[in-house]
Symmetry: C2
Subunit: 412 residues, 2 copies
């Protein structure tokens, strides 16, 4: 049965505004780090909203929140839709939040329409998508998809010494549900584009065909402390310098591929003692490379690996790649992509295919069920910045495409 109306964009907008009250950062932005007090607060508000909508809330052992609406045949695997409520330290009000609150709006609309889908529907809020507090990003969806071990996730440590599992318990979101390991019909994630294309071209809906191939690295360097004065240049083993050399080389790699829209990022550097007067004997660097062409991304990643050795050697240090993560490629489901495109067209929205250049929980979900992403425009492509912005009018078309796509899928 086709739907007779779309989402209530005003109601949706008010949930975005409610969320924007929690964990405020710089002007207009949010600083709502995973498992912080602010994260607890927004989770509490979100769970309350879900229960008000008649949904059954379950929390799993990594704090992912699932809010379920029964289907006509509740034994069938559910259609999952959602994103994340955590933000970067200088984050915006929309990144992730639009996908979770948008999923809630879809289910509220179905309540209004008294439309019970054949398959059950579940909203999800994934824990620690940003990786702004606990590394790596998409930690809990990775665990859900079986990529990360539960104990490993629980033991992840933040810069302030906080431990993931302890923080989860502290804020009351260490659930009892097993993580993953159950059948899902499909996963839909609505998200702001986090790039300039839709906004620049005034296109209302982005059909995400694939993700840029991305490789991230956590690299550790070991050297030796010594005095910055008398210690001869040729004896120095300055781990901070090794890490700095790697990050500069990574940036150079990015510029070498910039003409084909490749990117490389010097994201993080930590060192110890990291003080005037003494050489550091320990450093870590986080960097990543991304390219639309998987083979180009592989070349970039290989250059990073070589740069690790070269940077360490130049600084007299040893190096180890402690962690390497990769995502992207043509992982989304062709049938779901077509479904989303069809609904965008049927609803009369301007739309275009495009790639995601950011990491998303959807990348891990694509390993366990057919997955699709829908993009909405955001102003000038600005994100991970308090100036991030999308208007209600920017978001409504994507929301309606999500609504119709999910219902089609769940009713089939």
């Amino acid at each position: 049965m086709p739907l007779t109306q779309g989402v209530n964009a005003q109601r949706f907008w008010s949930t975005i505004e409610r969320s924007a009250e929690i964990g405020q950062g710089r002007e207009g932005g949010l600083s709502r780090l995973a498992l912080s007090d602010a994260d607890k607060e927004v989770r509490d508000v979100f769970v309350c909203m879900c229960r008000d909508a008649g949904l059954t809330v379950r929390i799993d052992q990594v704090g992912n929140i699932f809010a379920r609406r029964a289907g006509q045949d509740d034994s069938l695997p559910p259609v999952l839709l959602g994103s994340h409520l955590d933000t970067q330290a200088n984050g915006g009000r929309f990144d992730g939040i639009v996908g979770v609150m948008g999923a809630l709006e879809v289910l509220r609309t179905l309540n209004d329409l008294q439309h019970v889908t054949r398959r059950p529907l579940e909203i999800v809020n994934w824990t620690n998508e940003e990786g702004a507090r606990f590394s790596p990003p998409m930690l809990a969806s990775g665990c859900f998809a079986g990529v990360y071990d539960l104990d490993w996730v629980h033991n992840r440590q933040a810069d302030d010494g906080a431990v993931f599992g302890e923080e989860l318990r502290r804020i009351g979101y260490l659930g009892s549900e097993p993580v993953g390991g159950r059948d899902l019909d499909s996963y839909f994630e609505l998200h702001i584009e986090q790039g300039p294309i839709l906004d620049a071209e005034r296109v209302q809906v982005g059909i995400v065909t694939h993700g840029y191939s991305s490789h991230g690295f956590l690299v550790e360097f070991h050297g030796e402390t010594a005095h910055t004065g008398p210690w001869p240049m040729e004896k120095r083993r300055n781990a901070l310098l090794a890490a700095a050399r790697l990050l500069v080389e990574v940036d150079d790699i990015g510029w070498d591929f910039a003409a084909t829209d490749g990117k490389a990022t010097a994201a993080r550097l930590s060192a110890w003692p990291n003080k005037a007067g003494i050489l550091s004997d320990w450093a870590q660097a986080i960097c990543d490379v991304r390219h639309d062409v998987p083979k180009a991304a592989d070349v970039m990643a290989e250059r990073v690996r070589r740069a690790v050795g070269a940077a360490a050697s130049r600084a007299g240090c040893t190096a180890e790649i402690l962690d390497h993560w990769s995502w992207g490629g043509r992982i989304f489901d062709d049938e779901l992509i077509s479904l989303v495109r069809r609904h965008a067209a049927a609803l009369g929205y301007s739309h275009r295919d495009l790639a995601s250049q950011a990491g998303h929980d959807a990348y891990f979900l694509a390993r366990v069920c057919p997955t699709a992403m829908i993009f909405t425009p955001c102003k000038d492509g600005i994100t991970h910045n308090n100036a991030e912005y999308a208007s209600r009018e920017d978001l409504e078309p994507g929301l309606n495409v999500l609504l119709h796509s999910v219902v089609s899928r769940a009713d089939r």
Copy 2:
């Protein structure tokens, strides 16, 4: 009246061992950061030892400790001798400590000999020489010499947010004495060489003729946060990258001058948010350059200044040199240098002239009174490392030279 005996090296060694019990770090080393609980503990022990030796202890408003032994004519300006009891985070048991405990041993020996010098003698322990907690190094001797303003010093902040003045009060060493502004006859500082020359050449005493000319810089970069994925290379303003580029260039400068024993150091890098997934909009770097030839050091410093602008520009950021400090050159007093050399020879010790390549409180003291430094060997020149080592036999000759030089000067 010439002295009839030298110092009690065993008694001196036991004070070094007592000090080594306080603020232990890695095996064999110390981690006794300025104004920490460990610094309070070693200060308390030191003050107690001074009082036991009949000295009058006074604390000034930046926590410098002065322990005075009256002279026959106590109205004359005192001869000052000392160094510092704070250490690096991975520091040794000797750097600085030898100069303070050595000064105490000199005064204890004069007590044994019942030798009252014509001029008064004062031991000094300078606060925060290392700069391992509060930047810059030699903070309190700089204030004593009128280089740093008292309020500015009190407001210096550590990485953990601690404020210098508050920490001084907390550990009970916010004294009432004015900082500096009084006449001193002279200043002597005994110190381990922190370089390999004396140890390699098996020379017992180093006569410090001058200091390497050194320039240190604290540089701040400002950029803009953005997503590490979609944000185009040409729009990026990554402050972390700007700082990394500066530090790499500084190291290259060091290598360009390495043939003439120049050194350059990438010492510290901090950034915010400094996380995977987001470009940092703020970074600070600390670096320094040193050369025996002042003109060469000036050229190196000028290259650093140019590198600041180039690194910022390459990374799309703005930069500002927040602080520039310099020291070294031919600042020590010719008469005192001759005096020290004469006593080393008279005592039958092997000795040689050499330059200091490290920063020392003596550099600031040289601005307010005739100053000399005496170096002792340390194993392999290792310092700012828990492996730093000097034996009792390594230290005794320097101690006796200090004793005789100070007495000559004070009795004249």
